[in-house]
Symmetry: C2
Subunit: 283 residues, 2 copies
């Protein structure tokens, strides 16, 4: 039977610490502020937004919601985006992407003030993740996986880590974050040959494939820590579920993070932490 | 007996192609130009500079040498650097680093025009390497390793690649370049546990450890392609030598690149290629 490593204790500990930090910032005259910039009403965005609002309230971060209709034109979008981008009272901007097709997402990414890039999408942030310099911010979910491992006392130095998935929001950045902490990392993807054999070697397996139940018993070993970053719709359960076939692999590994209630619960904490850092840098 | 994959045939083929491209650019009114910016007289820099000058001459690239004394002050350095950085007749700048301690290397890196960053050291270039977008340029030596594999007809898709070393000039970028070409890449480093066992699994082993004779028979398998990017002083031979213990491993692998005469011979070609691309982008 594996230890089930939930995200809630991680989030609770981070929130308690961040609440103090927010108070300290306010005492110095800075009210840490996040702008949530959303175009349209995608259900995933709305769900994440609710989580972010709740977390920011718990921490003591002010939130400005900038919401535009799904059919907004580029000119109006551009005007509103530049206004919040310039506003010195806003320390971080969470821009939901992808944007609708009539809008230029690459323009937004390139023009987002790197200092406000709290979800790590600008070149500056990505270069910072690649070079291990504290400029910009890592993508929140990638960092959430690492915060969870840290909370549960995992020493990364010298560990064999295998990352499944090479996206820019999770796979690639989490691989870099683990490597900077001295793990030996293998990045696997759809073209990887004999993925289960590689995954079986992992002391730490991070699955960010985004494929329901793709990680089965043949991916595991008894000493493995399985961090499931997948968020997939499970028709049979009528709810979201991870990449791991949880019932099948849970008895076979040392520790596993559930979905829901695992890494996803830590993501908004990392977002809040980035806003506090961004606000602190303005002092 | 391994195939010995030398760099010269790769360099010859690239040079022939690039000569045509340089002529085509000139016919369109652009004289491709590299500025070599050197502070002091470090022997390694001088050796690389001689190679770059020879290659640029063979290709038909004009070279401007900007040479400052080792004890130049920041203000003079800054003035000269900004002058070439602004000069529209210069398409690429090779800045030898590290700079002497009285100069601000990070200032130079941050202010180098990304369009002229032909050795891939700016945030824009590094973000491009990480995100696989054609902005900026990859560090030349990292790309040279990949050009050599391409020349010798190696299909990277699905291959197991192990990279030894995680520097920003070779290890990390070459890992990304291989991954973008659909290899499954493991990045190893000084904290890796049982490195030989991991290296033995590699179909393509890239050694960029910079440690003389660190790669011995226990790192190899008979189907392995061993790309040796190490450049180390070999006291016993009185010359440079690679990371591989060449005599010991050469009989045990499928193919191996020698040092000297391997990847290093391709590096200045990649530099020249980047200058041509940078010049082409100004059209």
């Amino acid at each position: 039977m594996a230890e089930i490593w939930k995200g809630k204790p991680v989030a609770d500990a981070m929130t308690a610490r961040m609440r103090e930090e927010a108070l300290a910032l306010k005492a110095r005259g800075v009210a840490p502020t996040l702008c949530i910039f959303r175009v349209g009403e995608r259900p995933d965005d709305l769900a994440y937004e609710r989580g972010a609002l709740k977390r920011c309230e718990a921490v003591g971060i002010r939130v400005v919601q900038e919401i535009l209709p799904a059919d907004v034109d580029q000119d109006s979008f551009r005007r509103r985006f530049l206004a919040v981008n310039r506003d010195p009272s806003i320390h971080g901007i969470l821009l939901f992407r992808p944007l609708p097709p009539q809008l230029d997402g690459e323009w937004a990414r390139q023009n987002l003030d790197p200092a406000k890039d709290v979800d790590g999408c600008t070149d500056g942030s990505l270069a910072g993740v690649f070079t291990n310099t504290p400029k910009g911010f890592a993508p929140c979910t990638a960092q959430a996986a690492v915060e969870l491992l840290r909370h549960y006392g995992v020493e990364l130095k010298g560990k064999r880590a295998v990352v499944i998935g090479r996206s820019l929001v999770i796979g690639r950045p989490v691989a870099m974050l683990l490597m900077h902490r001295n793990a030996t990392v293998t990045i696997c993807h759809t073209r990887t040959v004999d993925l289960p054999a590689l995954a079986r070697q992992a002391e730490i397996l991070i699955s960010a494939a985004g494929v329901l139940h793709s990680v089965g018993p043949e991916y595991t070993n008894p000493d493995q820590i399985l961090v499931d970053v997948g968020i997939n719709w499970d028709e049979a359960r009528g709810s979201i579920s991870g990449d791991a076939d949880f019932e099948a692999v849970e008895p076979l590994v040392k520790a596993i993070t559930p979905v829901p209630g695992g890494v996803g619960s830590v993501t908004t904490c990392v977002l809040a932490d980035h806003v506090l850092q961004a606000a602190g840098r303005t002092l």
